[in-house]
Protein backbone atom coordinates (compact mmCIF):
# COMPACT_ATOMS: atom_id res chain seq x y z
CA UNK A 1 0.00 0.00 0.00
CA UNK A 2 1.30 3.46 -0.87
CA UNK A 3 2.37 5.79 1.91
CA UNK A 4 -0.42 8.27 2.75
CA UNK A 5 1.91 11.22 2.04
CA UNK A 6 3.68 9.86 -1.06
CA UNK A 7 2.81 11.32 -4.48
CA UNK A 8 1.48 7.88 -5.54
CA UNK A 9 -1.22 8.09 -2.91
CA UNK A 10 -2.60 11.40 -4.23
CA UNK A 11 -5.72 10.47 -6.21
CA UNK A 12 -5.91 11.78 -9.78
CA UNK A 13 -9.33 13.22 -10.44
CA UNK A 14 -10.85 14.49 -13.64
CA UNK A 15 -11.38 18.23 -14.07
CA UNK A 16 -14.97 18.80 -12.91
CA UNK A 17 -17.42 19.94 -15.62
CA UNK A 18 -18.10 23.12 -13.58
CA UNK A 19 -14.50 24.25 -14.11
CA UNK A 20 -14.66 23.40 -17.84
CA UNK A 21 -17.79 25.49 -18.10
CA UNK A 22 -15.89 28.50 -16.69
CA UNK A 23 -14.24 29.11 -20.09
CA UNK A 24 -17.67 29.36 -21.68
CA UNK A 25 -18.85 31.65 -18.86
CA UNK A 26 -15.82 33.89 -19.40
CA UNK A 27 -16.66 34.21 -23.11
CA UNK A 28 -20.26 35.12 -22.25
CA UNK A 29 -18.94 37.62 -19.71
CA UNK A 30 -16.84 39.34 -22.40
CA UNK A 31 -19.69 39.51 -24.91
CA UNK A 32 -22.28 40.74 -22.37
CA UNK A 33 -21.61 44.52 -22.71
CA UNK A 34 -21.95 44.41 -26.51
CA UNK A 35 -25.06 42.25 -26.27
CA UNK A 36 -26.57 44.70 -23.77
CA UNK A 37 -25.87 47.65 -26.04
CA UNK A 38 -27.28 45.86 -29.10
CA UNK A 39 -30.42 44.89 -27.16
CA UNK A 40 -30.91 48.51 -26.07
CA UNK A 41 -30.72 49.87 -29.65
CA UNK A 42 -32.88 47.07 -31.05
CA UNK A 43 -35.54 47.76 -28.45
CA UNK A 44 -35.41 51.49 -29.28
CA UNK A 45 -35.61 50.81 -33.04
CA UNK A 46 -38.59 48.46 -32.76
CA UNK A 47 -40.37 50.66 -30.24
CA UNK A 48 -40.22 53.65 -32.64
CA UNK A 49 -41.33 51.51 -35.60
CA UNK A 50 -44.18 49.80 -33.76
CA UNK A 51 -45.47 52.67 -31.61
CA UNK A 52 -45.62 55.15 -34.48
CA UNK A 53 -44.12 57.86 -32.31
CA UNK A 54 -43.26 61.03 -34.27
CA UNK A 55 -39.57 61.23 -35.43
CA UNK A 56 -39.48 64.75 -34.00
CA UNK A 57 -40.07 63.28 -30.54
CA UNK A 58 -37.88 60.22 -30.92
CA UNK A 59 -36.14 59.26 -34.19
CA UNK A 60 -35.05 55.72 -35.06
CA UNK A 61 -31.43 55.07 -34.03
CA UNK A 62 -30.80 53.67 -37.51
CA UNK A 63 -31.78 56.99 -39.15
CA UNK A 64 -29.53 58.91 -36.75
CA UNK A 65 -26.63 56.57 -37.54
CA UNK A 66 -27.24 56.93 -41.29
CA UNK A 67 -27.23 60.72 -40.88
CA UNK A 68 -23.87 60.62 -39.01
CA UNK A 69 -22.31 58.24 -41.55
CA UNK A 70 -23.48 60.43 -44.45
CA UNK A 71 -21.94 63.60 -42.92
CA UNK A 72 -18.51 62.51 -41.68
CA UNK A 73 -16.65 65.78 -42.39
CA UNK A 74 -19.30 67.82 -40.55
CA UNK A 75 -19.17 65.70 -37.38
CA UNK A 76 -15.39 65.24 -37.55
CA UNK A 77 -14.86 69.01 -37.61
CA UNK A 78 -17.20 69.74 -34.69
CA UNK A 79 -16.09 66.71 -32.68
CA UNK A 80 -12.41 67.68 -32.90
CA UNK A 81 -13.27 71.16 -31.54
CA UNK A 82 -15.18 69.72 -28.56
CA UNK A 83 -12.56 67.05 -27.91
CA UNK A 84 -9.76 69.63 -27.90
CA UNK A 85 -11.60 71.82 -25.37
CA UNK A 86 -12.46 68.83 -23.17
CA UNK A 87 -8.93 67.41 -23.51
CA UNK A 88 -7.25 70.62 -22.30
CA UNK A 89 -9.86 71.09 -19.57
CA UNK A 90 -9.36 67.49 -18.41
CA UNK A 91 -5.58 67.72 -18.16
CA UNK A 92 -5.58 71.19 -16.61
CA UNK A 93 -8.07 69.91 -14.02
CA UNK A 94 -5.78 66.94 -13.37
CA UNK A 95 -2.64 69.06 -12.90
CA UNK A 96 -4.43 71.66 -10.75
CA UNK A 97 -6.06 68.97 -8.59
CA UNK A 98 -2.77 67.10 -8.04
CA UNK A 99 -1.00 70.35 -7.08
CA UNK A 100 -3.76 71.38 -4.65
CA UNK A 101 -4.06 67.85 -3.18
CA UNK A 102 -0.27 67.66 -2.76
CA UNK A 103 -0.30 70.90 -0.79
CA UNK A 104 -3.26 69.73 1.28
CA UNK A 105 -1.76 66.28 1.96
CA UNK A 106 1.46 67.83 3.25
CA UNK A 107 0.11 70.73 5.30
CA UNK A 108 -2.90 70.92 7.61
CA UNK A 109 -2.75 74.72 7.21
CA UNK A 110 -3.06 74.51 3.42
CA UNK A 111 -5.88 71.97 3.85
CA UNK A 112 -7.83 74.26 6.20
CA UNK A 113 -7.32 77.22 3.87
CA UNK A 114 -8.25 75.34 0.67
CA UNK A 115 -11.25 73.33 1.95
CA UNK A 116 -13.80 76.21 1.98
CA UNK A 117 -12.87 77.15 -1.60
CA UNK A 118 -13.29 73.54 -2.75
CA UNK A 119 -16.63 73.19 -0.95
CA UNK A 120 -17.77 76.49 -2.49
CA UNK A 121 -16.87 75.33 -5.99
CA UNK A 122 -18.41 71.91 -5.36
CA UNK A 123 -21.74 73.33 -4.27
CA UNK A 124 -21.96 76.09 -6.88
CA UNK A 125 -23.53 75.43 -10.32
CA UNK A 126 -20.42 75.95 -12.42
CA UNK A 127 -22.41 76.74 -15.58
CA UNK A 128 -23.27 80.14 -14.14
CA UNK A 129 -19.62 81.14 -14.53
CA UNK A 130 -19.59 80.67 -18.32
CA UNK A 131 -20.96 84.19 -19.09
CA UNK A 132 -18.21 85.59 -16.86
CA UNK A 133 -15.57 83.58 -18.74
CA UNK A 134 -17.03 84.94 -22.00
CA UNK A 135 -16.60 88.48 -20.64
CA UNK A 136 -12.99 87.73 -19.70
CA UNK A 137 -11.83 85.71 -22.69
CA UNK A 138 -14.24 86.62 -25.49
CA UNK A 139 -15.12 84.00 -28.05
CA UNK A 140 -11.88 82.02 -27.87
CA UNK A 141 -11.63 78.40 -26.69
CA UNK A 142 -10.75 79.48 -23.16
CA UNK A 143 -14.31 79.83 -21.75
CA UNK A 144 -15.05 76.26 -22.86
CA UNK A 145 -11.72 74.89 -21.57
CA UNK A 146 -12.23 76.61 -18.20
CA UNK A 147 -15.78 75.26 -17.94
CA UNK A 148 -14.50 71.73 -18.68
CA UNK A 149 -11.79 72.26 -16.05
CA UNK A 150 -14.27 73.37 -13.39
CA UNK A 151 -16.60 70.45 -14.12
CA UNK A 152 -13.76 67.90 -13.92
CA UNK A 153 -11.48 69.07 -11.15
CA UNK A 154 -13.56 68.30 -8.02
CA UNK A 155 -13.55 64.48 -8.44
CA UNK A 156 -9.85 64.70 -9.26
CA UNK A 157 -8.95 66.75 -6.20
CA UNK A 158 -11.08 64.62 -3.82
CA UNK A 159 -9.59 61.35 -5.10
CA UNK A 160 -6.02 62.66 -5.33
CA UNK A 161 -6.23 63.86 -1.73
CA UNK A 162 -7.48 60.49 -0.50
CA UNK A 163 -4.83 58.63 -2.50
CA UNK A 164 -1.95 60.84 -1.41
CA UNK A 165 -2.97 60.80 2.22
CA UNK A 166 -4.30 57.29 2.95
CA UNK A 167 -0.90 55.59 2.84
CA UNK A 168 -0.04 52.63 5.06
CA UNK A 169 1.41 54.06 8.31
CA UNK A 170 3.84 51.15 8.68
CA UNK A 171 5.26 51.69 5.20
CA UNK A 172 5.52 55.40 5.96
CA UNK A 173 7.41 54.62 9.15
CA UNK A 174 9.64 52.17 7.28
CA UNK A 175 10.71 54.89 4.83
CA UNK A 176 11.21 57.37 7.66
CA UNK A 177 13.46 54.86 9.44
CA UNK A 178 16.03 55.41 6.67
CA UNK A 179 15.48 59.17 6.84
CA UNK A 180 13.58 59.38 3.54
CA UNK A 181 12.89 62.99 2.56
CA UNK A 182 9.33 64.26 2.08
CA UNK A 183 10.07 64.28 -1.64
CA UNK A 184 11.15 60.60 -1.62
CA UNK A 185 8.07 59.63 0.37
CA UNK A 186 5.95 61.59 -2.12
CA UNK A 187 7.41 59.98 -5.25
CA UNK A 188 7.99 56.47 -3.97
CA UNK A 189 4.92 56.04 -1.79
CA UNK A 190 2.23 58.72 -2.06
CA UNK A 191 2.12 59.10 -5.86
CA UNK A 192 1.96 55.37 -6.76
CA UNK A 193 -0.57 54.87 -3.96
CA UNK A 194 -2.80 57.60 -5.41
CA UNK A 195 -2.83 56.15 -8.94
CA UNK A 196 -5.87 53.84 -8.46
CA UNK A 197 -7.79 56.80 -7.03
CA UNK A 198 -6.75 59.05 -9.93
CA UNK A 199 -7.73 56.48 -12.55
CA UNK A 200 -11.07 56.05 -10.84
CA UNK A 201 -11.59 59.83 -10.89
CA UNK A 202 -10.38 59.95 -14.51
CA UNK A 203 -13.24 57.72 -15.67
CA UNK A 204 -15.76 60.15 -14.16
CA UNK A 205 -13.89 63.26 -15.27
CA UNK A 206 -13.77 62.28 -18.96
CA UNK A 207 -17.56 62.58 -19.08
CA UNK A 208 -17.56 65.72 -16.95
CA UNK A 209 -14.95 67.46 -19.10
CA UNK A 210 -17.03 66.71 -22.23
CA UNK A 211 -20.15 68.03 -20.47
CA UNK A 212 -18.20 71.16 -19.47
CA UNK A 213 -17.01 71.78 -23.03
CA UNK A 214 -20.53 71.29 -24.44
CA UNK A 215 -22.08 73.61 -21.81
CA UNK A 216 -19.48 76.23 -22.72
CA UNK A 217 -20.40 75.82 -26.41
CA UNK A 218 -24.13 76.20 -25.66
CA UNK A 219 -23.51 79.75 -24.50
CA UNK A 220 -21.60 80.99 -27.47
CA UNK A 221 -19.62 79.26 -30.17
CA UNK A 222 -19.42 78.73 -33.88
CA UNK A 223 -18.10 75.18 -33.65
CA UNK A 224 -18.32 72.10 -31.50
CA UNK A 225 -20.98 69.48 -30.80
CA UNK A 226 -22.65 71.78 -28.25
CA UNK A 227 -23.13 74.29 -31.06
CA UNK A 228 -24.40 71.69 -33.55
CA UNK A 229 -26.94 70.47 -30.97
CA UNK A 230 -28.05 74.03 -30.14
CA UNK A 231 -28.48 74.96 -33.83
CA UNK A 232 -30.27 71.65 -34.55
CA UNK A 233 -32.66 72.24 -31.67
CA UNK A 234 -33.54 75.76 -32.83
CA UNK A 235 -34.10 74.58 -36.45
CA UNK A 236 -35.77 71.25 -35.51
CA UNK A 237 -33.04 69.22 -37.21
CA UNK A 238 -33.79 66.08 -35.22
CA UNK A 239 -31.23 63.81 -36.88
CA UNK A 240 -28.46 66.38 -36.33
CA UNK A 241 -29.52 66.87 -32.69
CA UNK A 242 -29.43 63.13 -32.00
CA UNK A 243 -26.35 62.75 -34.21
CA UNK A 244 -24.49 65.21 -31.93
CA UNK A 245 -25.60 63.15 -28.91
CA UNK A 246 -24.46 59.89 -30.55
CA UNK A 247 -21.04 61.28 -31.54
CA UNK A 248 -20.55 62.76 -28.07
CA UNK A 249 -21.45 59.44 -26.42
CA UNK A 250 -19.11 57.61 -28.80
CA UNK A 251 -16.25 59.97 -27.91
CA UNK A 252 -16.88 59.57 -24.17
CA UNK A 253 -17.02 55.77 -24.36
CA UNK A 254 -13.88 55.61 -26.55
CA UNK A 255 -11.86 57.72 -24.13
CA UNK A 256 -13.10 55.75 -21.11
CA UNK A 257 -12.15 52.47 -22.84
CA UNK A 258 -8.68 53.82 -23.65
CA UNK A 259 -8.29 54.90 -20.01
CA UNK A 260 -9.41 51.47 -18.79
CA UNK A 261 -6.81 49.82 -21.06
CA UNK A 262 -4.06 52.11 -19.71
CA UNK A 263 -5.29 51.53 -16.15
CA UNK A 264 -5.20 47.77 -16.68
CA UNK A 265 -1.58 48.01 -17.78
CA UNK A 266 -0.37 50.51 -15.16
CA UNK A 267 -2.29 49.08 -12.20
CA UNK A 268 -1.70 45.37 -12.78
CA UNK A 269 -0.56 45.22 -9.13
CA UNK A 270 -3.83 46.61 -7.76
CA UNK A 271 -6.75 44.53 -6.49
CA UNK A 272 -9.15 46.51 -8.73
CA UNK A 273 -7.66 44.67 -11.73
CA UNK A 274 -8.53 41.24 -10.36
CA UNK A 275 -11.77 39.72 -11.59
CA UNK A 276 -13.38 37.94 -8.64
Amino acid sequence: MADATSPDSIPVVEVPPEIRRQTFRHAVFMVAPFAGLAAFFLFWEFYVRISGIRPLTLPKPSSVLIHVVENPAFYWHHATVTVQEAWWGFWMAFVLAVLVATGMAHSKLVERAATPIIVLMQSMPVAILVPIFLLWFGFSSWPKILTALLFAWIPFVANALTGLRAIDPETHELLKSVNASKWEIYWRLRVPHSLPYLFSAGRICIGLALVGAVVGEFFNSKDGLGNTARVAQSRLLVDQLWGSVFVLAFIGVTFVLVLIAVEHRVLRWHSSQTVV
Binding site: E170, E173, S177, R188, P192
Partner: protein, 264 residues
Protein backbone atom coordinates in the same frame (compact mmCIF):
# COMPACT_ATOMS: atom_id res chain seq x y z
CA UNK B 1 20.60 61.19 37.05
CA UNK B 2 21.66 58.05 35.11
CA UNK B 3 24.31 58.76 32.48
CA UNK B 4 24.16 57.06 29.05
CA UNK B 5 26.92 54.65 28.08
CA UNK B 6 28.47 56.11 24.93
CA UNK B 7 30.35 52.89 24.11
CA UNK B 8 27.13 50.84 23.90
CA UNK B 9 25.37 50.41 20.57
CA UNK B 10 22.13 51.62 22.18
CA UNK B 11 21.95 53.21 25.62
CA UNK B 12 18.75 54.23 27.43
CA UNK B 13 19.49 56.29 30.57
CA UNK B 14 16.43 57.04 32.72
CA UNK B 15 14.20 57.51 29.66
CA UNK B 16 10.56 58.44 30.21
CA UNK B 17 7.84 59.11 27.67
CA UNK B 18 4.29 60.40 27.94
CA UNK B 19 1.54 60.48 25.30
CA UNK B 20 -1.61 62.53 25.25
CA UNK B 21 -4.16 60.65 23.09
CA UNK B 22 -7.48 62.54 23.10
CA UNK B 23 -6.35 64.80 25.94
CA UNK B 24 -5.69 61.95 28.38
CA UNK B 25 -2.10 61.77 29.67
CA UNK B 26 -0.60 58.27 29.37
CA UNK B 27 2.71 57.41 30.98
CA UNK B 28 4.14 55.12 28.29
CA UNK B 29 7.65 54.61 29.67
CA UNK B 30 9.05 55.31 33.10
CA UNK B 31 12.75 55.64 33.95
CA UNK B 32 13.95 53.02 31.49
CA UNK B 33 17.69 52.31 31.58
CA UNK B 34 19.21 49.69 29.31
CA UNK B 35 22.53 49.24 27.49
CA UNK B 36 22.66 47.10 24.36
CA UNK B 37 26.17 46.05 23.28
CA UNK B 38 27.36 45.93 19.69
CA UNK B 39 26.25 42.72 17.88
CA UNK B 40 23.95 41.81 20.76
CA UNK B 41 20.45 40.41 20.15
CA UNK B 42 18.05 41.81 22.76
CA UNK B 43 14.34 40.99 22.90
CA UNK B 44 11.78 43.23 24.55
CA UNK B 45 8.90 41.18 25.87
CA UNK B 46 5.86 42.25 27.83
CA UNK B 47 2.10 42.75 27.73
CA UNK B 48 0.36 45.19 25.36
CA UNK B 49 0.87 48.81 26.35
CA UNK B 50 4.16 48.23 28.20
CA UNK B 51 6.09 50.55 25.86
CA UNK B 52 8.00 47.98 23.77
CA UNK B 53 7.18 49.64 20.44
CA UNK B 54 7.72 53.07 22.00
CA UNK B 55 11.28 51.97 22.89
CA UNK B 56 11.86 51.06 19.22
CA UNK B 57 10.52 54.39 17.98
CA UNK B 58 12.64 56.27 20.49
CA UNK B 59 15.71 54.30 19.40
CA UNK B 60 15.14 55.12 15.74
CA UNK B 61 14.60 58.81 16.53
CA UNK B 62 10.99 58.77 15.30
CA UNK B 63 10.02 59.84 18.85
CA UNK B 64 11.90 62.04 21.33
CA UNK B 65 12.22 61.12 25.02
CA UNK B 66 10.45 63.53 27.40
CA UNK B 67 12.93 62.74 30.13
CA UNK B 68 16.34 61.05 30.28
CA UNK B 69 18.92 60.46 27.57
CA UNK B 70 19.10 58.00 24.72
CA UNK B 71 22.30 57.44 22.76
CA UNK B 72 22.83 55.35 19.66
CA UNK B 73 26.44 54.54 18.68
CA UNK B 74 27.58 57.33 20.96
CA UNK B 75 25.44 59.99 19.25
CA UNK B 76 21.80 60.94 18.88
CA UNK B 77 19.27 58.56 17.29
CA UNK B 78 18.55 61.14 14.58
CA UNK B 79 22.21 61.18 13.54
CA UNK B 80 22.22 57.38 13.24
CA UNK B 81 19.00 57.54 11.24
CA UNK B 82 20.45 60.15 8.87
CA UNK B 83 23.43 57.80 8.27
CA UNK B 84 20.98 54.94 7.50
CA UNK B 85 22.22 52.90 10.43
CA UNK B 86 18.77 51.49 11.22
CA UNK B 87 17.03 48.60 9.55
CA UNK B 88 13.36 48.31 10.50
CA UNK B 89 11.25 45.13 10.29
CA UNK B 90 7.62 46.17 10.81
CA UNK B 91 4.78 44.01 12.14
CA UNK B 92 3.33 43.57 8.65
CA UNK B 93 5.64 43.12 5.66
CA UNK B 94 4.82 46.66 4.40
CA UNK B 95 5.83 45.78 0.84
CA UNK B 96 5.04 48.24 -1.90
CA UNK B 97 2.45 46.37 -4.00
CA UNK B 98 3.57 48.01 -7.27
CA UNK B 99 7.19 46.88 -6.88
CA UNK B 100 8.46 43.38 -7.63
CA UNK B 101 10.18 41.29 -4.93
CA UNK B 102 13.59 42.38 -6.27
CA UNK B 103 12.56 46.08 -6.28
CA UNK B 104 11.09 45.84 -2.79
CA UNK B 105 14.32 44.36 -1.45
CA UNK B 106 16.36 47.22 -2.94
CA UNK B 107 13.88 49.90 -1.79
CA UNK B 108 15.61 50.99 1.42
CA UNK B 109 19.03 50.92 -0.29
CA UNK B 110 17.79 53.36 -2.95
CA UNK B 111 16.32 55.87 -0.50
CA UNK B 112 18.43 58.59 1.19
CA UNK B 113 21.51 57.51 -0.76
CA UNK B 114 24.62 57.65 1.44
CA UNK B 115 27.92 57.13 -0.41
CA UNK B 116 29.57 55.67 2.73
CA UNK B 117 26.71 53.23 3.45
CA UNK B 118 27.81 49.71 2.48
CA UNK B 119 24.49 48.45 1.16
CA UNK B 120 24.29 45.07 -0.54
CA UNK B 121 24.94 45.02 -4.30
CA UNK B 122 22.11 43.96 -6.62
CA UNK B 123 23.90 40.64 -7.30
CA UNK B 124 24.31 39.93 -3.57
CA UNK B 125 20.62 40.75 -3.04
CA UNK B 126 19.70 38.16 -5.67
CA UNK B 127 21.99 35.60 -4.03
CA UNK B 128 20.35 36.28 -0.67
CA UNK B 129 16.86 35.90 -2.20
CA UNK B 130 18.01 32.63 -3.75
CA UNK B 131 19.36 31.39 -0.40
CA UNK B 132 16.07 32.03 1.38
CA UNK B 133 14.01 30.27 -1.29
CA UNK B 134 12.73 33.34 -3.14
CA UNK B 135 14.84 32.81 -6.27
CA UNK B 136 11.91 31.87 -8.54
CA UNK B 137 9.89 34.85 -7.27
CA UNK B 138 12.28 37.78 -7.76
CA UNK B 139 10.07 39.30 -10.47
CA UNK B 140 6.78 38.47 -8.75
CA UNK B 141 4.54 41.13 -7.25
CA UNK B 142 3.67 40.96 -3.52
CA UNK B 143 0.06 40.02 -4.39
CA UNK B 144 1.42 36.79 -5.89
CA UNK B 145 3.14 35.73 -2.62
CA UNK B 146 1.93 33.99 0.53
CA UNK B 147 2.07 35.73 3.93
CA UNK B 148 5.24 33.87 4.90
CA UNK B 149 6.96 34.72 1.62
CA UNK B 150 6.06 38.39 2.04
CA UNK B 151 7.61 38.42 5.51
CA UNK B 152 10.72 36.74 4.06
CA UNK B 153 10.98 39.59 1.55
CA UNK B 154 10.59 42.07 4.41
CA UNK B 155 13.49 40.40 6.27
CA UNK B 156 15.64 40.27 3.12
CA UNK B 157 14.94 43.97 2.56
CA UNK B 158 16.37 44.90 5.94
CA UNK B 159 19.48 42.73 5.55
CA UNK B 160 20.10 44.20 2.07
CA UNK B 161 20.59 47.51 3.84
CA UNK B 162 23.49 46.06 5.89
CA UNK B 163 22.49 48.41 8.71
CA UNK B 164 24.45 47.94 11.95
CA UNK B 165 21.25 48.26 14.04
CA UNK B 166 18.10 46.24 13.39
CA UNK B 167 14.78 47.11 14.99
CA UNK B 168 11.97 44.56 14.72
CA UNK B 169 8.43 45.27 15.89
CA UNK B 170 6.66 41.92 16.38
CA UNK B 171 7.47 40.93 12.80
CA UNK B 172 6.02 37.41 13.02
CA UNK B 173 2.86 38.11 15.00
CA UNK B 174 0.55 37.88 11.99
CA UNK B 175 1.90 34.52 10.79
CA UNK B 176 0.66 31.00 11.47
CA UNK B 177 2.66 28.98 14.02
CA UNK B 178 4.63 26.85 11.54
CA UNK B 179 5.62 29.82 9.37
CA UNK B 180 6.46 31.75 12.51
CA UNK B 181 8.96 29.07 13.62
CA UNK B 182 10.45 28.97 10.11
CA UNK B 183 10.86 32.78 10.07
CA UNK B 184 12.45 32.75 13.52
CA UNK B 185 15.31 30.50 12.34
CA UNK B 186 15.62 32.33 9.02
CA UNK B 187 16.10 35.61 10.89
CA UNK B 188 18.60 33.92 13.18
CA UNK B 189 20.72 32.55 10.30
CA UNK B 190 20.77 35.89 8.45
CA UNK B 191 21.59 37.80 11.65
CA UNK B 192 24.43 35.44 12.61
CA UNK B 193 26.06 36.23 9.25
CA UNK B 194 25.51 39.99 9.58
CA UNK B 195 26.76 40.70 13.11
CA UNK B 196 24.34 43.58 13.59
CA UNK B 197 22.80 44.73 16.88
CA UNK B 198 19.14 43.80 17.22
CA UNK B 199 16.32 45.16 19.35
CA UNK B 200 13.43 42.74 18.84
CA UNK B 201 9.91 43.34 20.15
CA UNK B 202 7.83 40.21 20.69
CA UNK B 203 4.91 38.73 22.60
CA UNK B 204 6.24 35.22 22.19
CA UNK B 205 8.35 33.74 25.00
CA UNK B 206 9.90 30.95 22.81
CA UNK B 207 10.80 33.56 20.19
CA UNK B 208 12.52 35.75 22.79
CA UNK B 209 14.51 32.82 24.21
CA UNK B 210 15.52 31.20 20.90
CA UNK B 211 16.68 34.44 19.32
CA UNK B 212 18.17 36.54 22.10
CA UNK B 213 21.31 37.03 24.11
CA UNK B 214 19.13 38.82 26.67
CA UNK B 215 15.38 39.03 27.17
CA UNK B 216 14.19 42.32 28.67
CA UNK B 217 10.87 41.83 30.49
CA UNK B 218 8.61 44.87 30.71
CA UNK B 219 5.45 45.64 32.68
CA UNK B 220 2.68 48.08 31.76
CA UNK B 221 1.12 51.24 33.28
CA UNK B 222 3.61 52.77 33.36
CA UNK B 223 5.91 50.89 30.95
CA UNK B 224 9.04 49.84 32.82
CA UNK B 225 11.72 47.16 32.84
CA UNK B 226 11.06 44.56 35.56
CA UNK B 227 13.79 42.05 34.77
CA UNK B 228 16.63 41.42 32.33
CA UNK B 229 17.26 37.72 31.75
CA UNK B 230 20.47 36.38 30.18
CA UNK B 231 20.06 33.65 27.56
CA UNK B 232 23.41 31.82 27.59
CA UNK B 233 22.38 29.18 25.02
CA UNK B 234 25.20 28.29 22.61
CA UNK B 235 25.27 29.73 19.09
CA UNK B 236 24.65 28.99 16.28
CA UNK B 237 21.20 27.84 17.33
CA UNK B 238 18.79 25.58 15.49
CA UNK B 239 15.47 23.91 16.32
CA UNK B 240 17.21 21.21 18.43
CA UNK B 241 17.84 23.88 21.08
CA UNK B 242 14.15 23.80 21.94
CA UNK B 243 14.57 20.21 23.19
CA UNK B 244 17.22 21.11 25.82
CA UNK B 245 16.51 21.47 29.53
CA UNK B 246 18.51 24.73 29.62
CA UNK B 247 16.12 26.27 27.07
CA UNK B 248 13.06 25.14 29.02
CA UNK B 249 14.57 26.54 32.26
CA UNK B 250 15.01 30.02 30.66
CA UNK B 251 11.52 29.77 29.20
CA UNK B 252 10.12 29.21 32.71
CA UNK B 253 12.19 32.10 34.08
CA UNK B 254 10.87 34.53 31.42
CA UNK B 255 7.30 33.32 31.97
CA UNK B 256 7.44 33.81 35.72
CA UNK B 257 9.03 37.27 35.28
CA UNK B 258 6.16 38.21 32.96
CA UNK B 259 3.58 36.93 35.46
CA UNK B 260 5.28 38.82 38.26
CA UNK B 261 5.18 42.05 36.25
CA UNK B 262 1.52 41.39 35.41
CA UNK B 263 0.51 40.93 39.07
CA UNK B 264 2.21 44.17 40.27
Amino acid sequence: MTQPNDTAAISFAGVSKWFRPKGQLVHALSQVSLDVSKSEFVSLIGPSGCGKSTMLRLTSGLLEPDWGTLMVEGGSPSEARARKHFGFIPQHPALLPWRTVRANVSLLCDINHQPEAEVMSADDQLDMLESIGLGPFVDALPSELSGGMMQRVSIARVFALRAPLLLADEPFSALDELTRVEMRYLLLSLWERSGSTVLFVTHSIPEAVVLSDRAVVLAARPGRITKVIDVPLPRPRDESIEDTEEYREILREVRSALKEGWSH
